[in-house]
Amino acid sequence: MENTMKQLPPKPVDLKKRIYHWAIAIVTIVVIVWSCIGINFGRIKESAGQITGAIFAGIFHPDWSYVYNGSGEDLISQLWETICIAFLGTFISAIISLPFAFWAAHTKHKKWYVSRTGKLVLAVIRSFPEIVLALMFIKAVGPGSAAGVFALGFHSVGMLAKLFSEAIENLETGANEAVSAAGGSKWNIITFATMPNLMPELISNTLYRFDVSIRSASILGLVGAGGIGYPLIIALQYRQWNRVGIILLGIIIMVVIIDWISGWIRKKLV
């Protein structure tokens, strides 16, 4: 019986597909190899291991006198300031984002170029480096957390308005039609149909953005825009590795707690 069996035919080759796959593979490898050229991994400082050890030592043996001493320069106060920057920045950006979102949502306009331009503007805002924005605000209002708040507030619009506009686009149109059928104006539609349906999504996106903002706020200080980043960069410059360790620990705990809270609220929303 086995003898009557046919031989396995060779795999049919889809030449176009195969060339395509090989091309992608080769390009990828070439790009990776090209990237390795010119970046000298041999030039790492000899003290690298030692410094890493010192930072970890700081995490495990925290300098408690720095954690809280009531001077306003201690870890807790700085973390609090960071949270405030993130909170206010997110608050501002959520408000600014709303009109932008309606501008960029394609279901709200009959003419295609309106939403396209809106999306483009948001893309540009997103790509504008946050740090540079922070520096510009520092020039305007002086170093400190206010500059951080404004920088975050404007930068977050790029991402938040994009999320908002996607939420608007995903809305069902039924309720809108009901309101306009009852003779409602465009403004009526937004307040009576769109907003109530949109609310949970908006809150959820804003909370998500708050998570991101907390992380951003903790680095704005690196350029002098307030928050925990400033003492960190100082500690790095003065080689106070223990201090670096404890600040890192503080940031980690802060972010974990905020993530946990916002995750908890978002879960309750659904």
Partner: protein, 260 residues
């Protein structure tokens, strides 16, 4: 020396973590070349019984011997070698949907290869031919390079049968092989299983829902209720009343041992 049974269960008990009893004091012997059908309500422990035999589930007490070797005590490589001799057909086919039919059939052979060879897909020419022949046995030769997700349910189950055939096991466990198929394809799949049993002498142990299919294909029938064997006999000597009794479900529904 007495003839050694192919599968032997000795005082097998399975209690789930949540306290439900899946199997209770099962003693069972199945000889080489038998086509055994296990019938019972869902939740009676049919699946648990089958999945204990190749240890997809561990049992709580007792011992299971496969061709004289204990799978219950086997570990690591030995366990895998025993499993290599037991093919399995699943209700949901369990094919890798994004892989080609050929590659799916070849997975039946992986336990015959060292790890590094399978990683680089280095199957021997003979094995590829064997896989192709298995596909011809189930009439799917023309689909050999098709992606598995493009086949119908019945075709997928036949690919799974070809996979088992390529594995060349001594035993085949079929866990509700026809539950997700229509009657016609079900019969086709059962025919293929019967073919493995008759032409290759493989011992088949199949869970079946349908009494009709059980009657048509089984040589021996085992009735399970509430984790216990309540009937065991030759199909030809089994009156309809036995089936009626098993499916009357006096206490079968209470145990929810199976996932289904």
């Amino acid at each position: 020396m007495a003839k050694q049974p192919m599968i032997q269960l000795k005082d097998v008990t399975k209690v789930y973590d949540n306290g439900t009893v899946g199997l209770k004091d099962i003693n069972l012997e199945i000889d080489k070349g038998e086509f055994v059908v296990v019938v019972g309500l869902s939740g009676a422990g049919k699946s648990t019984l089958l999945r204990s035999i190749n240890r997809l589930q561990d049992i709580s007490e007792g011992n299971i011997l496969i061709d004289g070797k204990s799978i219950t005590q086997a570990k690591g490589k030995n366990l895998r070698l025993i499993r290599r001799d037991i093919g399995m057909i699943f209700q949901s086919f369990n094919l890798v949907k994004r892989s080609s039919v050929l590659r799916n059939v070849l997975t039946g052979r992986v336990a015959y290869y060292p790890t590094w060879k399978t990683t680089f897909n280095l199957f021997s020419k003979e094995d590829k031919q064997k896989a192709y022949e298995a596909l011809q046995r189930v009439d799917l030769a023309d689909k050999v390079y098709t992606r598995a997700d493009q086949l119908s349910g019945g075709q997928q189950q036949r690919v799974a049968i070809a996979r088992v055939l390529t594995q060349n096991p001594k035993i085949i466990l079929a866990d509700e092989p026809t539950a997700s198929l229509d009657p016609q394809t079900s019969r086709r799949v059962m025919h293929d299983l019967k073919m493995l049993n008759e032409d290759y002498g493989m011992t088949v142990l199949a869970n079946l829902h349908s009494v009709e299919l059980a009657r048509e294909f089984g040589d021996r029938v085992i009735g399970v209720r509430a984790g216990q064997i309540v009937y065991d006999g030759k199909m030809s000597e089994t009156p309809q009343s036995v089936f009626d009794d098993i499916y009357s479900g006096k206490n079968g529904e209470k145990t929810e041992a199976e996932d289904e």
